[in-house]
């Protein structure tokens, strides 16, 4: 039957065609996959296949569309020593994409490194919900939301394969070793600010002397809930940040630094204004200075620093002139440099205070005695006239 023979032949061709297409497809897929030659076609964890079968091999890379290279080797000894390694986390705890269970991995390859990070960091909230939420609400989170892809996400500060524990497991307090390296973490993105900080009295003590009494970035900016430090409200409440450490005598006594800088600031016109502003309208722009307007933001120097220190009169005058452009040399003494007036420092102020400390009780006391005597006369008058009648 020629017709039947014809049909059989056609079927043969279809099968061949399909085989060819599948074959080509397979070759194509293999070719585009990672540069792996002899690998099992199907990852089956139940059968003992593991991510580390491939990813523990050294120098594995994946070139992304952007031309960037994604390093796909996990150094297992480093990971084992990390907080996640210590907690025995498995790869798929974070890398939850079902496509990864297949080999070659299914699913879309990220176009660039940043896109990959932005996909991955969302896994962090599975275990670190609180920190994750804080970060979403932070300055970084807001910038990301606004479309700035460079805004820091979890993994920018904490490499999930390498991050050690930063806090004491029981107390939750930051470990000293971790504190020491905080500015380096922030420097990854904020290198110019880091350079300024590292030169400052605080930064130099930390980076050169490993002094942990000084503030690192997070002491002023917070950790995950980092707020925008350029807002009016941040500026208005900033003196409290400085006061936290500078009113702490335990910390300040070591360096012979006065602990009443905050009180003397508040006693001054500037501080009084800022405090009243803060209470009244925390979002208002204030033209009165807060600590960092005179002392510097990240570039805070010791008052004795010849070039920048405010104990040096020319430097102080320069500082005054930032807001009081027309002033002459005498003017800078109108600011009492955090001194509480005494016969040595600012004697005129001291004696004016003393004068009124004597005059007010004297005058008011005298008046009270006089008024008291009049009341006495009237009361006794009434009693006498009452007795008469």
């Amino acid at each position: 039957m020629p017709l039947e023979k014809n049909k059989k032949q056609r079927q043969k061709w279809i099968v061949l065609g399909f085989a060819l297409v599948f074959g080509l497809l397979a070759i194509f897929l293999l070719g585009t996959a990672e540069n792996v030659s002899a690998a099992p076609l199907q990852v089956d964890y139940a059968k003992g296949n593991k991510c580390t079968d491939c990813h523990a091999e050294p120098d594995r890379t994946l070139t992304l569309d952007s031309g960037e290279i994604l390093y796909t080797t996990i150094e297992m000894d480093v990971f084992a020593a990390s907080a996640h390694g210590e907690a025995d986390l498995a790869c798929e705890d974070c890398h939850t994409d079902a496509g990864l269970r297949h080999f070659p991995h299914r699913g879309e390859t990220p176009k660039n490194l940043r896109e990959f990070s932005l996909q991955m960091y969302e896994s962090c909230q599975e275990c670190h919900q609180e920190e994750y939420d804080k970060t979403i609400d932070s300055m970084h989170g807001q910038a990301l939301e606004a479309g700035d892809q460079n805004a820091a996400i979890c993994t920018d500060c904490h490499d999930p394969h390498e991050q050690h524990r930063l806090t004491n497991e029981e107390t939750g307090e930051l470990l000293p070793e971790a504190r020491l390296h905080i500015p380096e973490t922030c420097a990854r993105c904020h290198s110019t600010i880091y350079d300024v900080y590292a030169e400052s009295v605080h930064g130099a003590a930390l980076t050169q002397e490993s002094n942990l009494d000084v503030p690192t970035c997070i002491d002023c900016h917070g950790v995950h809930d980092i707020a925008d430090p350029t807002t009016a409200s941040y500026r208005l409440q900033s003196p409290n940040i400085c006061a936290d450490c500078h009113s702490d005598s335990e910390r300040m006594d070591k360096y012979d630094i006065s602990t009443n800088i905050f009180d003397t600031y508040l006693a001054d016109f500037h501080g009084t204004s800022v405090l009243l502003f803060e209470q009244r309208s925390p979002d208002q722009e204030v033209n009165k200075p807060v600590c960092f307007d005179c002392h510097g933001v990240h570039d805070i120097y010791s008052p004795d620093n010849p070039e920048h220190g405010l104990a040096i009169k020319e430097n102080l005058l320069d500082t005054c002139q930032q807001c009081h452009p027309d002033v002459t040399a005498n003017f800078s003494d109108a600011w009492m440099s955090h001194y509480v007036p005494d016969p040595e420092h600012f004697p005129i102020v001291y004696f004016v205070d003393l004068f009124y400390k004597i005059l007010i009780p004297l005058v008011i006391g005298g008046m009270l005695i006089f008024v008291g005597s009049d009341i006495f006369r009237r009361v006794t008058n009434r009693r006498k006239s009452g007795a008469k009648s």
Binding site: V196, I364, T380
Partner: protein
């Protein structure tokens, strides 16, 4: 059968108006000033809030200060007119008799003396108030000028004068407010509600009680003599030009007080360092 009670004039209408202006400016100055002396006090904060913030509070304080300066200038001119043109006796000047009166009043109150002092036009109580106000206004004016114009002040004086002025200004304020609350309140409101500053008059009984010597003088016709028209004109011709110059000088003084300098920039300029690029990633580490 309402028989009109005999009254004696005590304060003229202009004097009473002057008192009201003084009273208002003093109260406003106190209410806007004291919260700045005690900024961490909760009541101070609410008061500043009520007044629309600390800048507004300061503006109100300055306006009240201008009112006080103007009324002071007016007072000086009127005193000059009364003393030179009308040649009234300077009954407000303190004298040794006042100290004696005060002592007698005190011992009388303590029942050590039988009789209270007999006093004239102005009693020691009133003189204490008047001269306290003069002292206070001078101190507040000078120290207020220094704080309002620190740049001008430090061009001629040491910088330390500014915090010293502030110390004096705020301590003097406490003294003045307490003195008014204690002395003034007691002597004209609590002891006996004295309405003379509002009605302008005192009754014969009140005069007899408080100003017996003055009453006796009035009855004896020994008050200030009337100046005849001719002398009055002559003196006015001399006094008015002088008063004009004085008034101009004092107004210029107030203008200088208010306008002499722009102390500080009005808008906050962030520091240069803050304009560093915020995002400045480090050069990525070479690939491992």
């Amino acid at each position: 059968m309402s028989k009109t009670i005999k009254t004696y004039p005590r304060f003229t209408l202009p004097q009473r108006i002057e008192h009201v202006v003084m009273l208002l400016s003093f109260t406003i100055l106190g209410l806007t000033g004291l919260p700045q002396r005690y900024p961490s006090n909760g009541f101070a904060a609410s008061l500043v809030s009520l007044l629309g913030g600390v800048e507004n509070t300061r503006n109100i304080h300055h306006l009240a200060a201008i009112a006080l300066m103007l009324v002071t200038a007016y007072h000086i001119l009127v005193i000059g007119y009364k003393l030179y043109v009308l040649r009234v006796r300077a009954t407000m000047l303190p004298s040794f008799q006042d100290a004696k009166d005060a002592w007698q009043a005190f011992t009388y109150n303590l029942r050590l003396t039988k009789k209270p002092p007999k006093m004239g036009r102005y009693t020691y109580e009133e003189k204490v108030e008047y001269w306290a106000l003069v002292w206070g206004t001078v101190i507040m004016g000078i120290t207020g000028f220094m704080m309002w114009n620190p740049i001008t002040t430090t061009r001629y004086f040491p910088g330390e004068f500014i915090p010293a002025a502030k110390a004096a200004h705020s301590a003097e304020a406490v003294l003045a407010v307490l003195a008014v609350l204690i002395w003034h309140m007691y002597s004209v409101h609590i002891k006996r509600f004295n309405k003379a500053m509002w009605t302008g008059d005192l009754t014969e009984e009140e005069m007899q009680h408080e100003h017996p010597l003055e009453l006796a003088e009035i009855k004896a016709g020994e008050g200030d003599a009337e100046v005849d028209q001719k002398t009055l004109r002559k003196r006015q011709m001399i006094y008015f030009p002088i008063a004009g110059v004085l008034a101009t000088l004092m107004l210029a003084g107030v203008y200088i007080f208010v306008q002499s300098e722009e102390t500080a920039i009005t808008t906050y300029i962030p520091k240069v360092e803050e304009s560093l690029p915020v995002y400045a990633p480090q050069t990525p580490t070479p690939f491992p």
